[in-house]
């Protein structure tokens, strides 16, 4: 049985993606996990993997086409299976490489009317109000009813003014349809597999900027106005939403990193032969994981009517890119050793720069860390990445006189500021969390057990 593969949501707030390149041809056999296409999101180009095994029956969109999240892009079926149910493919847009989209079906599919209501966002004729030849004129309620009843409006004759299909026409068509014995095959449901990617429900796909804006922004000259890159737009959207909707509060602590720095040196010296190098950030990740295990409430999301606690701890790390920043997550940190976290973190950074992150890594973070240690800053506060409940901002580790046993001594210290969603948690819990992190980092052996 054929399954539709749909445009996945590969980032919080992602509304559409561009199918850059098909990696498999029509008719190719694929296994679960095989990369079948490259998809460009707001952030990067990522590989799209098959969620079902079978034969790629149809590629529904041309390379270079922008497709709203959730719309079908390909049909996968059993070997040799014929595609019977025409899929609601978005109208193919002119492809950048001049290659047309594979024709989906010679007959007008039942959902064609629906598809027309949501124009594809790729370069399209400017006036989308212009009536297409053979356009169906139907009142809003007629469209709604037809949609609910699964009636093809193009097959109904409208009796309203100007031939408009009215409520009564649809009701009458429904009666005559019910009278007929033959039933049509139900259209295929979108692949279940994409459900796992469903981050907070995206807003209805909006009209997006034309493809020209995918081009990297030119370097700004003084006084010049530079159009926003896709990534900049995305960052603007998410951070604005976060600051407007999430009541942030902040808790700061100074952490004595002297012991942690010593330990790190020892570990790195002993593991040098194995090629493992623990970074300060890895220690902080490990400390955060420990603190989140003790205070699971901060590993959660505010859902409007409840607090959703997450089953696994996935630590997002802020990675600065050429024209912005992304926050992919190291999945399932609770069971990972310091060395494993270190490796996972390195792998994530490498793949982020290559643009081969998995969709889940974009959306699956449950708590984040933003480290500006390399910039010699002492303090900063980070903006929470929705729908997470917290983010820890850490500054540079630097030598400083501190008082220990009433003596002024030199220590290596670091400031950490926790931003918390006040809808989920309160100051005391935030303080408890940061004290846990501090305790672990100041007694770093605990990070090894």
């Amino acid at each position: 049985m054929a399954t539709e593969l749909t445009m996945p949501q590969m980032g919080y707030d992602m509304q559409e993606g561009t199918l850059v390149r098909w990696l498999k041809r029509e008719g190719a056999e694929v296994k679960v996990g095989d990369a079948i296409a490259e998809i460009e999101t707001d952030k990067a180009v990522v590989e799209f993997e098959a969620s079902e095994a079978g034969v790629l029956n149809k590629l529904l969109v041309a390379e270079g086409t922008s497709v709203p999240v959730g719309k079908p892009i390909a049909i996968i079926g059993a070997p040799g299976e014929k595609v019977t149910a025409p899929a609601a493919a978005p109208a193919p847009a002119p492809a950048a490489n001049g290659k047309g989209a594979p024709a989906s079906s010679p007959k007008r599919p039942p959902e064609a009317v629906e598809a027309r209501q949501e124009p594809v966002t790729a370069p399209a004729p400017a006036d989308d109000h212009a009536a297409a030849p053979g356009e169906v004129r139907a009142s809003p309620v007629a469209r709604k009813l037809a949609d609910e009843m699964g009636i093809d409006l193009s097959k109904i004759k409208g009796t309203g003014p100007g031939g408009r299909i009215t409520r009564d026409d649809v009701m009458a068509a429904d009666k005559s349809k019910a009278a007929k014995t033959e039933t049509k095959a139900e259209p295929q449901k979108p692949a279940e597999a994409t459900a796992r990617l469903a981050a907070p429900a995206p807003a209805a796909p909006k009209k997006e900027a034309p493809a020209a804006e995918h081009a990297p922004a030119p370097a700004a000259k003084p006084g010049e106005k530079v159009p926003l890159s896709k990534m900049r737009q995305q960052i603007a959207r998410v951070t604005t939403k976060s600051k407007q909707e999430i009541p942030h509060f902040y808790v700061t602590a100074e952490i004595d990193m002297t012991e942690a720095m010593k330990l790190r040196k020892q570990i790195n010296a002993s593991l040098e032969s194995e090629g493992i190098k623990i970074s300060v950030n890895d220690l902080i990740i490990k400390a955060c994981v420990g603190a989140l295990r003790k205070i699971p409430n901060l590993n959660s999301s505010y859902t409007g009517d409840a607090i959703q606690n997450h089953p696994s701890i996935n630590i997002g790390i802020a990675i600065a890119m050429e024209d912005g920043l992304i926050m992919p997550a190291i999945m399932d940190c609770a069971g990972k050793t310091l060395a494993q976290i270190s490796q996972a973190s390195k792998d994530l950074i490498t793949r982020a720069q290559k643009g081969t992150l998995h969709a889940q890594e974009y959306t699956g973070g449950t708590f984040s860390i933003s480290n500006m240690g390399m910039f010699e800053v002492t303090n900063f506060a980070a903006i929470i990445q929705p729908p997470q409940a917290g983010v820890l901002a850490v500054g540079t580790v630097m030598k400083k006189p501190v008082v220990r046993n009433d003596q002024v001594v030199i220590a290596e210290t670091m400031n950490a500021t926790l931003s918390v969603d006040h809808r989920v948690s309160d100051g005391a819990e935030g303080a408890k969390f940061i004290v846990e992190v501090k305790k672990d980092l100041e007694n770093p052996l605990s990070l090894l057990v």
């Binding site: 809003p140 309620v141 009796t159 003014p161 408009r164 409520r167």
Partner: protein, 325 residues
């Protein structure tokens, strides 16, 4: 439960106001010795005396201004403006003063002023005496506007107006004073901001206020002859406007026509129509219709005047144009 006419329902409300609260008083042209231009205050002068039923000179700006001042000073003035056409002379007092004093004094002042006035055409009183301006006032934040269509609502709305702490324009349609309807003896109120479904139906929603409620009822009867059921909604207060009741109805019937007497251009009904269109777009079977008076000064000639005011046939014609009904 007794059947009374609307004039009597309003007079009952006024008597209750004067009996219940000694701060309440009536002022207006001919309200006293002449017993009211529309005979609403018949017998009041003898019973309550010239202090509480005050005749005023022909100076609407002064009358409304004095009402605003009295209300600010703690009285409960009920100012009768002989027709809403004359209220144009007091419009500055209404719009710039009565409506804004609470806001501009940071809530320290309130203006519990009721302006009773007569609206509408149809009595061959010609261009300057036949207009319907209640919608103009309803477009001003700070003002509440009630416009009853039957004796029950007239008394119920007037009782609610007496409870208001803000200025109320109480618009009575000239042709409805003799309209009969049942009014319970037991106390009741008709709250502001609650539209009434005056007739139930499933095929089209007719929204109206004042005398046009009766036009809508007549249209509903004609629809019934065609086998269609029209739902008639009386908005009762233009501000606050009960959009919920209207939208709920439109979601059921999928069609809506707003009927009002004022000129079609810029009528308050256009605002209602636009609001319905926004709130119920996906449930509409055609554009929200608006039927208003013709864009001409009210003719004196009776036949021409009748032609300028919406009637049931025009409502049907509009339904045919928009919905093919």
């Amino acid at each position: 439960m007794a059947e009374i006419i609307m004039r009597e329902a309003i007079a009952r409300g006024l008597r209750e106001a004067l009996d219940k609260d000694e701060r309440a008083f009536i002022m207006g042209e001919d309200v006293g010795a002449y017993q009211g231009a529309y005979a609403v205050t018949k017998g009041f002068f003898e019973k309550y005396g010239p202090e509480r039923v005050r005749d005023t000179p022909i100076a609407e700006g002064v009358m409304v201004g004095a009402g605003v001042g009295a209300a600010m000073a703690g009285q409960r003035p009920i100012v009768e403006i002989m027709t809403i056409n004359f209220l144009l002379l007091g419009i500055d007092q209404v719009v710039n003063h009565a409506a804004k004093l609470r806001y501009m004094s940071n809530g320290q002042l309130e203006v519990p002023l009721i302006i009773r006035t007569v609206t509408g055409g149809g009595a061959q009183l010609a261009a300057t005496h036949s207009q319907s301006f209640e919608g103009w006032f309803a477009s001003v934040p700070g003002i509440k506007v009630a416009i009853p269509s039957d004796p029950y609502d007239a008394l119920g709305l007037f009782r609610s107006a007496l409870d208001e702490r803000d200025p109320v324009i109480f618009a009575e349609h000239a042709l409805l004073y003799g309209f009969k309807g049942e009014v319970p003896d037991a106390p009741y109120k008709v709250p502001f901001g609650q539209a009434a479904v005056k007739r139930e139906g499933k095929d089209i929603t007719l929204v109206a206020y004042g005398r046009m409620v009766h036009v809508a009822q007549n249209a509903a009867k004609l629809f019934a002859e065609m086998g269609k059921q029209a739902e008639v909604i009386d908005v009762r207060t233009l501000r606050p406007l009960d959009l919920d009741t209207i939208v709920k109805s439109v979601k059921k019937t999928n069609r809506c026509i707003v009927v009002e007497e004022v000129w079609e251009t810029g009528g308050f009904g256009s605002w209602i129509a636009q609001s319905v269109q926004e709130a119920a777009f996906d449930d509409l079977d055609g554009p929200v219709g608006h039927v208003g008076g013709l864009d001409v000064p009210a003719p004196y000639n009776g036949v021409l005047e009748a032609a300028a005011i919406p009637d049931a046939k025009r409502v049907l014609q509009k339904a045919k144009e928009l919905f093919g009904m």
